[in-house]
């Protein structure tokens, strides 16, 4: 392993600087670190900070919508909140959350000492705080923050005030961060695997991240191109999307969604990987249909490139186009169905226990599937003319993103944090967190299906009185869900403060994989020499399995 490529030399002797070594060395350690574990931790802390900022914005939205009429904020600020909530949650919350998990786990799962390009990794992370400071600062500018929706459709978005170039530049920065991160992940997986780990022996989380990284490399530059054209249309006299100059505003929608649809799979494929890791552990069975999971993931990634116009059925397309995008979209249900079948088949007759990560994973399978079903409804082009731009769409994508992507990040953190910190989280508070989250996420978003089908438009601060009851229920759910997340923060900070039962090396008795062959907490440097053996031998697992009836869960191993 390359000395320079894995860590700084001084770390060999006394480890990374701690707070007790002085404030300056400690701060410099975190600013300059190239260690994948340090950067993974920072990515995750950044992501959860953004989740709370974006969550606070959603509470402004839900407070305004608590009852009909205009109560709290101006319509312009309301629109800024919906726009910023989306940008912060997607680019600041979910994506860095998954990158954080990839940073921590991909090298450990494949037996690599670090990511292949550790300094690029540092750069990729430190771009983000600047990008989001710039994005959030637009809320204080003349004309307010961006308010044309996260999709930034021209000509509306070109009416944004001083904020527009800052928003565009912050999106460029996020793109650079994502692309560098993705290149790093691909190179690491293709080049630094343990010698005996062939591609089809890789853990599913690694597979899903490999495919996600390719999606990122393909589509983030397209988003960068689209917003660059917006910039030149506004400030440099071009007419890419300005009809008066011969441009075509609808073309922006095509380019945006050529990015935007693969983007939603960027937000969910790593979640599939996490759930495919957790369910076999707590079902104490090998993942059912490993190969088909890999092929299904690749199929979903491929299909994600040829379905983009289902976001724009109402824009006025030839019927042949509507049919193509409708059928292509429905095809995605096939590999997704393979995945859901495989998760259920893995659980079938398994020795299941329901520790917190498993609860979130099972919650994911059930609630993500609900979001998938409403997605199938939206895929039907003629029906979409009724659903388009209503709260039904809002309900659909929040079902796939919150109990989908966000639950999987939470599940992954609960699953791996004993490995990261060396102590167990509180199972009681973990379960409490799950049940409150699972109940209130449904209280928040299920009623939105009904108001959407009845015609309530999205991105509007006021609404007809007929929608009042479902809206107050949704608002109460949103506040309760938000405050339930403080349990999670408390539980994680407890682990980081090393308060709690010490974790064993294996942590979960049904866990496979290389990350469980290193001590808990994982040492600052792992796998400086590639491991010979890539899984825990079956006989060891069987021995542990025999003890299972007498004991429970993580106390084994």
């Amino acid at each position: 392993m390359s000395h320079a490529a894995t860590h700084d030399g001084h770390d060999d002797h006394h480890g990374p600087a701690q707070l007790k070594d002085g404030l300056v060395p400690w701060v410099m350690r975190w600013i300059g670190t190239t260690n994948h574990k340090d950067l993974g931790t920072m990515y995750l802390i950044f992501a959860f900070t953004m989740f709370f900022i974006g969550g606070a914005m959603s509470l402004v939205i839900r407070a305004e919508l608590f009852q009909p009429g205009m109560q709290l904020v101006s319509p312009e600020f309301f629109n800024s909140m919906t726009t910023m909530h989306a940008l912060v949650m997607i680019f600041g919350g979910v994506m860095p959350g998954f990158v954080g998990l990839a940073n921590w786990m991909v090298p450990m799962m494949i037996g690599a000492g670090d990511l292949a390009l550790p300094r690029v990794n540092n750069w990729g992370f430190w771009i983000l705080p600047f990008a989001f400071t710039m994005l959030l600062s637009t809320l204080f500018m003349d004309g307010g923050g961006p308010s044309g929706g996260w999709t930034m459709y021209p000509p509306l978005v070109l009416q944004t005030g001083d904020a527009l170039p800052y928003v565009i530049f912050s999106i460029h920065l996020m793109g650079i961060s994502s692309i560098t991160g993705a290149i790093n992940v691909v190179v690491t997986i293709l080049n630094l695997r343990a010698p005996s780990m062939t591609l089809l022996k890789m853990p599913l989380f690694v597979w899903t991240w490999l495919i996600t990284a390719y999606l990122l490399i393909a589509v983030m530059p397209v988003l960068a191109g689209a917003v660059t054209m917006l910039l030149t249309d506004r400030y440099f006299g071009t007419s890419f999307f300005t009809a008066a100059g011969g441009g075509d505003p609808v073309m922006f929608q095509h380019i945006f969604w050529f990015f935007g649809h693969p983007e939603v799979y960027i937000l969910i494929l790593p979640a599939f990987g996490i759930v495919s890791t957790i369910i076999p552990t707590f079902a104490r069975k090998a993942l059912f249909g490993y190969d088909s999971m890999v092929y299904a993931t690749a199929s979903i990634a491929f299909l994600s490139f040829i379905v983009w116009a289902h976001h724009m059925f109402t824009v006025g397309m030839p019927v042949a186009g509507e049919l193509f995008f409708m059928f292509a979209t429905m095809l995605i249900a096939v590999p997704t169905g393979v995945k859901v079948f495989n998760w259920i088949a893995t659980m079938w007759r398994g020795s299941m226990t329901f520790e917190t990560p498993m609860l979130f994973a099972v919650g994911f399978v059930f609630l993500f599937s609900l979001g998938g079903f409403s997605g199938l409804m939206l895929a039907i082009a003629p029906a979409d003319f009724q659903y388009h731009d209503t709260y039904f769409v809002v309900a659909h994508f929040h079902y796939v993103l919150v109990p989908g992507a966000v639950f999987s990040i939470i599940a992954g953190v609960y699953y791996w944090i004993p490995k990261w910190t060396g102590v167990m989280y509180s199972e009681f508070w973990g379960k409490m967190h799950f049940w409150l989250s699972a109940i209130f996420i449904n209280v928040t978003f299920f009623p939105q299906h009904f108001v959407g089908l009845a015609g309530m438009p999205r991105r509007i601060p006021d609404y007809n009185g007929q929608f009042a009851d479902f809206n107050w229920i949704s608002s109460v759910g949103a506040f309760a869900f938000f405050f339930a997340q403080f349990i999670f923060i408390f539980n994680m900070m407890r682990c980081m403060a090393k308060k709690g039962e010490p974790a064993t090396q294996r942590v979960w008795e049904g866990a496979h994989g290389l990350e469980w062959t290193v001590p808990s907490p994982a040492p600052y440097h792992t796998f400086e020499v590639p491991p010979e053996q890539i899984t825990i031998p079956e006989d060891e697992l069987t021995a542990v399995h025999d003890e299972f009836d007498a004991l429970d869960g993580h106390k084994l191993s």
Binding site: N184, R193, A194, I217, P221
Partner: protein
């Protein structure tokens, strides 16, 4: 892995080869740039 091994790569697996790492990273960066400029050509074809 030794410095020499690092440059040569781990035989059969390519494990840790610096040259391979950089070559692959540059190829992927080129792919990203292609998509960036491609988005303009798609529009102005």
């Amino acid at each position: 892995m030794s410095e020499e091994g690092n440059i040569q790569g781990h035989e059969g697996s390519g494990h840790g080869s610096r040259a391979r790492t950089i070559r692959l990273a540059l190829m992927l960066a080129t792919l990203a740039l292609t998509f960036f400029f491609g988005s303009f050509f798609f529009l102005t074809r």
